[in-house]
């Protein structure tokens, strides 16, 4: 910031004139971690500084800040809910326990990520419709079928309700919240904790 006049500042590469597609990609990826760090109220100047470009350049690729945030959402929400999971979860050729464990192993690997977790929370607090859509989708496409699978498999009279599925889900997701939102220590690998949570849940419906 001091010797900006020198041709090659100490650490900043001072590279310029990237192909537009690549620059745009660089901006979006930088914006994702930037807004994940500081929140959606982060300034375009700080974002530009972090990217090593000028603030005005941002507006050459996006007509306003809201458009940058849209690109961030798109980049972050993309492929977070695989279309395979509903089929996989209802594929009764595998034991239900294995299906659930495989799902949550995959799912937690995808969402226990700093950028996702925080941008999801920031936009949730901002009241973004996107969050409700995502959760509604999660509920109808994954958790609801999961409930039906449990009803089909449970031997006893005790059957889970939808709210119980949300409880199972929430207990697992809470690991990611503790880690990335509250920045508390959590198990490095959550797999075992998830496995025990799932087994407690299944066990209580006679699905040990």
């Amino acid at each position: 910031m001091t010797d900006r006049a020198t041709q090659t500042p100490p650490d900043a590469p001072e590279r310029r004139r990237l192909p537009p597609a690549e620059r745009r990609r660089q901006i979006v990826e930088g914006a994702v971690t930037f807004f994940a760090d500081v929140g959606l109220d982060g300034t375009t100047r700080d974002l530009a500084r972090r990217l090593g470009i000028t603030q005005s350049l941002l507006f050459n690729y996006f007509s306003n800040k809201a458009e940058i945030l849209e690109a961030v959402y798109e980049h972050v929400y993309l492929d977070r809910l695989s279309d395979d999971w509903p089929h996989f979860l209802t594929d009764r050729s595998h034991p239900l326990r294995a299906r659930i464990l495989t799902f949550y192993r995959e799912y937690s690997r995808l969402i226990f990520e700093y950028n996702w977790m925080r941008i999801f929370m920031f936009s949730g607090l901002a009241g973004a419709e996107l969050n409700r859509r995502y959760l509604h989708h999660l509920g109808t496409v994954i958790l609801r079928p999961l409930l039906e699978e449990l009803h089909a498999s449970a031997p006893g009279p005790a059957l889970p309700q939808m709210e119980d599925i949300w409880n199972l889900h929430g207990g697992i997701v809470y690991i990611g919240i503790r880690r990335h939102i509250y920045q508390m220590p959590t198990p490095e690998d959550p797999t075992e904790a998830i496995e025990r949570a799932v087994d407690r849940f299944l066990g209580s419906y006679g699905l040990g």
Copy 2:
């Protein structure tokens, strides 16, 4: 905002000159819901507008915005963790199940509240030390003793770990997150869902 000159605007009471203590209290309470709504980046002008006072008046009671936020934290974090709970939870003259259920009935009543839930989340995302202190306190003063009570009561060889307690806790807290952060529909009264979650948990350690 249009006819501010008229002596008594249509709806605004245009009252002035409250006793300082009362005005301060009014500001803090207004600030709590204001910042819970819009986030900690909400402007002092919007806050003043909501309170029906001028922006400059805020700085007569607080020397800067950070001081307002401190008062908000203090007001919101106050008495959220009762000192009675540790004693109550370890009082073996009552059945463990009743102790846990009573605790979570009380606790959920206290924290499943719009202002608390959102300010806790906003400040957590902002990296506030206060959140980590709160959660650390919760862990050592409530959840850890709870774990020990479970170890003392569980008949079988299977014993919960601390991470399992966090899972129980997270699953319950997640109801409040869904309601107040994601603004999704949740059971009006979470008591039954909590009861079932606790029973699943206890059952899996032979404490049915």
